[in-house]
Amino acid sequence: MASAKVGPVAMDERGAARDRVISAIQRQGALIALVLLVVFGVARYGTTFYSQYNIFDAFLNNNTFYALTALGMTFVIISGGIDLSVGSVAVFAAVTAARLSVYGLAPALVGAVLAGIFAGLINGWLIARFALQPFVVTLAMLLAARGAGLTLSNNAPVMVDFAKGFTQLGMIHLGPVPLPVLITAVLYGLGMLLLNRTRFGRHVLAIGGNEEAARLAGIPVARTLVVVYAMSGALAGLAGAFLAALSFSGSPTGAIGWELSAIAAVVVGGTLLTGGIGSVGSTLIGVLLLGLIFVTLNFERGQGTFQLNSFWENFIRGAFLLIVVVFQSRLAKRGNAAN
């Protein structure tokens, strides 16, 4: 069969094979990198690398903030939008949680999430109702939520109330698993179910793929978008509550650069920044991959291989974002040319 091929056909086949390899790398690249990094870590650092404390408390627990904001960001980006306000909203929620911690764990937690939903609803309403560009609206919310955090905290960090159990949020373990990690894991499971197995999820994908077509197909576009931004707000709010519980205070100046962490994790995982294609699982891989890169750098610093300060983190995230975005646009162009 192969011998019968004439020139152009054979070339097409080669091209197709290359395309398959490229698309496999695109789809599974982050996962492959993650696996390689784990193997490298285990081989080089031995048991300290995979000790129970290091995995659950040092690594997973400290990445729950990014994981939660990235989960909300996944839905926003798939819908064709962007949410630049997650860091500020988290701060507003953290201050809210700290203020409410005198009433106990549940009121503080619920209050923080409601604060996030409130901000998200405003974002979603302005974007869906008035067709404003998401970056403008969420950039303004970035400013407003930071302002709300400053006002609510009287411009100074608010200490949480230790007596009423709010700090338990960061201390309770189920077996080896800290509560925030458990909650995050459950939410990722729900997120996957929501995106893949419900109408809402499919509608988010359809809106990101072709908003006009979605509208003509009778999908409630505005309502779906409002829910998407409210979800992003809610998850940023929850992340803010965790931040307050783990740092014992709601600081109006915290959570700088969270939007970068979230967007980078979503995009590195393989979700298209222009919308319409993406998955919750890939975002989880993106979060873990970026988190593990910094763990590895820390280990290397510990072994004295090189001196790197923490400012490299943002640089590395930005570089990853750039590479993946450029790579994605190349693939999109190739896809268009093929049609």
């Binding site: 560009q133 950039l139 967007i263 300060n309 995230r317 930005g318 974002l321």
Partner: protein
């Protein structure tokens, strides 16, 4: 009978009315508002917004957006002191001073070129292309100075005051950056009105496909506006560190992208591209500054001020929104 199109009137003159209202309010209720001091202070604050917003106006006129301006200001601000560490770092202090001014401007212009390459060659949407430096650029600034705030008084070069002149100097009683601002505004308005380049900018934003078919070098035009935006952001960054007499990579240019976009939108340039007004942008920036001044002068908390400004930005963008047909 001709019907009066109220929304169109608001779009056309709303910015001037708002500015007049703010000036009137402050003239009556704010003490010393009509003094030279307050005048200088407000224009000084507005100058950096205006300079950045002029670059943003050009970018938006081509149908793009530049989210990276604040981060580029931080990069310029963190680079400048590196050339003034001591008197004989570069042989003579004069070379150091020249480098302290030129190197940051070259660097941010190159960052603008990087944005332009992502938009024109790689074909990224402007929001995504400039998001990279918006998010990562401040990281670069922090890396340059190891995240430390750098005080000018700790620098060894005898020409540090010359750099500070950018932000603190006066010419005939007028603060230097106000003159810079006016020069930038007049030049930009002239370029947009009188030159081929200005028309190419508007044609590119109005319909880039049609412009290309009419022989407009669309990609070069886009490259040019992102470079211009980078250059002006660098200039504004230098002015800010000169005013502060220190360079803080975390703070320099913070929220500037928002102020600049707001100034453009408030001034009457639609975010959809193809139309632009530099004078409008000047008025828009003055409104943003006066709004902030009014709130502070009335002892409104910083947090509330931010929320009010955010709301003002949304209202301005809403007013500029194109009717969807």
């Amino acid at each position: 009978m001709k019907r009066v199109d109220v929304p169109a009137l608001i779009r056309a003159y709303g910015a001037f009315i708002a500015l007049a209202a703010l000036i009137l309010y402050n003239s009556i209720f704010t003490r010393n508002f009509l003094s030279i001091g307050a005048f200088n202070a407000n224009l000084t604050q507005a100058a950096t917004i205006v300079i950045v917003a002029v670059g943003m106006t050009f970018v938006i006129a081509t149908g793009g957006i530049d989210l990276s301006v604040g981060s580029l200001m931080a990069i310029a601000g963190s680079l400048a002191p590196l050339f003034l560490l001591d008197a004989y770092q570069f042989g003579t202090p004069v070379v150091g001073l020249a480098l302290a001014i030129i190197a940051p401007l070259v660097a941010t212009t190159l960052c603008g070129a990087f944005n332009g390459v992502l938009v024109t060659r790689i074909g990224l949407q402007p929001i995504i292309a400039t998001l990279v430096l918006y998010l990562g650029g401040r990281g670069i600034a922090q890396l340059i100075v190891n995240g430390e705030l750098r005080e000018f008084r700790n620098l060894g070069s005898p020409l540090v005051p010359a750099l500070e002149f950018l932000g603190l100097g006066q010419v005939l009683g007028v603060r230097f950056q106000i003159i810079v601002m006016l020069v930038v505004v007049v030049l930009a308005a002239w370029v947009l009105r009188a030159t081929t380049f200005g028309r190419y900018v508007l044609a590119t934003g109005g319909n880039s496909s049609a412009a290309r078919l009419a022989g407009v070098p669309v990609n070069q035009v886009k490259m040019a506006v992102y470079c211009l935006s980078g250059f002006l952001a660098g200039l504004a960054g230098l002015i800010v560190v000169a005013i502060n007499r220190s360079s803080d990579p975390h703070r320099v240019g913070e929220y500037m992208e928002l102020d600049a976009i707001a100034a453009v939108a408030v001034g009457g340039t639609p975010l959809s591209g193809g139309r632009a007004t530099i004078m409008g942008t000047l008025v828009g920036a003055l409104i943003i500054q006066l709004l902030r001044f009014t709130l502070i002068a009335n002892n409104v908390q910083d947090g509330i001020t931010r929320m009010v400004i955010a709301a003002a930005i949304i209202i301005a963008v809403l007013a500029q929104r194109q009717r969807v047909t």
